[in-house]
């Protein structure tokens, strides 16, 4: 059932002392997580902007119980917490990892892969601002081609690592992409994930005004443009079946997509791009959709491999 904005709880999710920059997509995302999961969740947060956004102890600027943890170990710490709760008879607790793209695509990938393969019953959210923002905008595996960062001064030479596909290849029961530009969609996916047993992965696109060099008032608009240009397709992979989400469906058709330049021109990190670079990114988009198309059409009648084990 689609979520309606008016149904959202009115609790304060961001408390005084929240140390995020203006227009911060991570704060927006955290608010939606609280809206979706309510008071049954504990967060595990590795190093990244969200370690700082919490503000200074002994208080916290986000209204969540949190285990902060070292950069590479979020998924494992969460797996441990879940096991602890299970052994103590508390099956109702949602253990949620909230990790950046660096903490997910790069340094934390091994731990996440382990947890996914074991089928640990956690929700893993990658909040993807497409670089290491906390340490001052360095490239990550999830930085797109061409983007300026402080370790790619002339633009990144490689394409973005496709972590959702990597997670689909793990054959976990639930993988989804989401965007801070579409809160209803994100919340709906979170609520669905909460009903699924096993490892759930949600990759949240999170445009960062500081690192991407845009006006802090534009975060939602840029997030939506990423979807409308086809750069960030929203989809859901549940029990072996891939479905393009409603907000992205229109952009399956290349001609309906907003021209990529509309997205790029608002961001300082792409200012230096030549037409040939834009073309490379456009080809990346086509390829991404071709791949999605294959996955969507691929008949997979038996759910996940895990189902074959009778789990």
């Amino acid at each position: 059932m689609p979520v309606k904005l008016r149904d959202f709880p009115r609790t304060h999710f961001n408390m005084p002392g929240n140390a995020a920059c203006p227009g911060c997509p991570e704060t927006m995302g955290l608010r939606y997580v609280k809206m979706a999961l309510g008071d049954k969740a504990v967060l595990v947060i590795p190093a990244g902007c969200s370690s700082v956004i919490q503000g200074i102890s002994p208080k916290s600027g986000i209204n969540f119980p949190i285990l902060n943890i070292v950069f590479a170990a979020a998924a494992s710490a969460a797996a441990g917490m879940k096991a602890g709760f299970e052994m103590l008879g508390r099956d109702d607790v949602q253990v949620v990892v909230w990790a950046g793209d660096g903490g997910t695509a790069d340094i934390g990938l091994q731990a996440m892969s382990g947890a996914a393969e074991r089928g640990d019953d956690i929700i893993y959210i990658c909040v993807d601002n497409e670089a290491y923002m906390n340490t001052g905008i360095q490239r990550s595996g999830a930085t797109p081609y061409g983007a300026w960062t402080t370790t790619t001064w002339t633009g990144k030479k490689e394409h973005k690592k496709n972590v959702p596909f990597i997670m689909i290849a793990h054959d976990v029961p639930y993988v989804a992409t989401a965007s801070v530009g579409y809160p209803q969609d994100f919340i709906e996916k979170l609520r669905k994930a909460a009903t699924v047993k096993g490892f759930k992965y949600i990759h949240l696109h999170a445009p960062c005004p500081v690192g991407w060099r845009f006006d802090p008032g534009l975060t939602p608009e840029i997030a939506q443009l990423a979807v409308k240009t086809g750069m960030w397709p929203l989809f859901e992979y549940h029990n072996g079946k891939l479905k393009i989400s409603s907000f992205s469906r229109l952009y399956r058709v290349k001609e309906k997509r907003v021209p990529l330049k509309e997205y790029l021109k608002l961001q300082g990190r792409f200012r230096h791009l030549k037409d040939s670079d834009v073309k490379i990114l456009e080809e990346y988009i086509d390829r991404l959709w071709a791949w999605l198309d294959l996955l969507e059409k691929a008949p997979n009648p038996s759910g996940t491999a895990r189902d074959l084990l009778g789990k």
Binding site: D39, K40, S57, S60, P65, A72, A77, M87, L88
Partner: protein, 424 residues
């Protein structure tokens, strides 16, 4: 079947013949640990294997997380413990180094967990044999660090570790060290007390906080530098408190189960002896054998066995060694560019004494090089004879060259040098 034979003692106590690693597993089971997360590495592997076996066959009610690395092993152990479950991990050498970041994080979080460290050399070159550089490498991290001499002590220390680390005066994680192969893979009789008695003695889990959805607890976000500083200070105070708790627990355990070791150190004929060996781990047994022989020959000599490296036994060293005429340190580790670890630590205590004894620091047994009782006998005898003949000296870095290399190198490898001095 996990063991070769066992028999039942008088009071429900079971005597089993166990390797050190199986002794660990039995203690973990006896402590009713709820979550185990560990990764295989020689010589620790049989701990994970045995616990997996116990859990899978319903002998132990716990969840095993078969993690993909040691970094994850300790992170998962910490996660489970933060959720309120008694949890355990074990590793060696490279595994311990890989998890080093989480070692610090766990102590800083003040969450009690217990970890076995089966001591092993660090590569390159690859070497799976006993060495203390891996365990002492955790020295500064805020963990309580103990090391056993034999398999019985391995069992007892592991069980006690839960009691000590979960004491509200302490709330720090604890390492129990056991020497690779020499203990981990060698069988010896181990008394396992009656489970009912253990349950009475070991209280239910206590910890400073639990992170539940209702708790509102946030662990580890940024802190003001001053708060950070004071939190560091509180770890140090907890370490000081731990000294009391360790000796209380040792006493109580002795009363209830009949085995008492002496707290932070074991003093084997050391009190009042003119000469003493300072040593830690399994080869202390060989040093004791050498000492008994020397005592038969009329030498006044004893062994001070370090059972706890953290908290460091300051008072014990000061009290027991300040009247010594000479102290021989045997280190199975080296801080490159510095000296052996036991010597380095203990010298700060001897410096407090008005009566500086003659000192020799021996580096021996790295990478599992065997050093037997006969060699301890020679090392000790020649040290004593040298002091008696020439008066006191400070000789902190004496490389005990392996047998096969003797004659190929000068008898004294150039090290730190040897300095004679007038007794203060």
């Amino acid at each position: 079947m996990l063991l070769t034979w066992f028999q039942r003692g008088d009071d429900g106590m079971v005597v089993k013949t166990l390797t050190g690693n199986k002794a660990v597993a039995h203690a973990v089971k006896a402590a009713r640990v709820k979550v185990v997360a560990a990764y295989p590495i020689t010589p620790q592997t049989t701990i994970v294997e045995t616990l997996a076996d116990m859990i899978e066959h319903g002998e132990m009610n716990a969840k095993m997380i078969r993690v993909e690395s040691e970094h994850s092993a300790l992170a998962a152990t910490l996660g489970a413990a933060a959720a309120g479950a008694r949890s355990f991990t074990a590793t060696s050498s490279h595994g311990l180094l890989l998890m080093h970041e989480v070692v610090w994080w766990t102590a800083g979080a003040r969450i009690p967990v217990v970890m076995s460290v089966v001591t092993r050399a660090i590569g390159p070159p690859w070497n799976i044999h006993v060495d203390h550089n891996d365990i002492w490498d955790q020295r500064d991290s805020g963990w309580i660090i103990s090391i056993a001499e034999n398999n019985q002590e391995v069992f007892d220390l592991t069980l006690q570790a839960f009691r000590i680390s979960e004491d509200p005066r302490v709330y720090l994680p604890m390492i129990v060290g056991l020497d690779g192969f020499i203990l981990s893979h060698t069988v010896a009789p181990v008394d396992i007390p009656d489970q009912e008695k253990i349950d009475q003695w070991l209280p239910p889990r206590r910890q400073p906080y639990v992170i539940t959805p209702e708790s509102g607890v946030v662990m580890g976000n940024l802190a003001a530098d001053e708060d950070y500083y004071m939190m560091r200070y509180s770890i140090q105070t907890a370490m000081v408190e731990a000294k009391k708790v360790i000796s209380e627990v040792d006493d109580e355990y002795g009363e209830v189960f009949g085995r008492k070791y002496g707290g932070l150190v074991e003093c084997f004929h050391c009190d009042g002896s003119k000469y003493n060996i300072v040593i830690a781990g399994s080869w202390s047994g060989d040093a004791k054998e050498a000492v008994l022989k020397l005592r038969d020959e009329g030498y006044s000599v004893g062994v001070l066995r370090v059972r706890y490296f953290r908290p460091w036994p300051d008072e014990e060293i000061r009290r027991l060694l300040s009247t010594s005429k000479g102290v021989l340190f045997i280190d199975r580790s080296i801080s490159f560019g510095g000296k052996g670890h036991l010597l380095t630590e203990a010298m700060t205590n001897l410096a407090e004494s008005t009566n500086l004894p003659a000192v020799r620091g021996v580096i021996a047994g790295l990478g599992g090089v065997d050093v037997g009782a006969d060699e301890f006998y020679e090392l000790t005898k020649s040290f004593i004879d040298e002091v008696e003949e020439n008066g006191p000296f400070y000789d902190p870095l004496y490389w005990h060259i392996p047998q096969v290399y003797r004659g190929k190198y000068p008898e004294r490898l150039p090290g730190y040098g040897k300095f004679s001095y007038e007794r203060r």
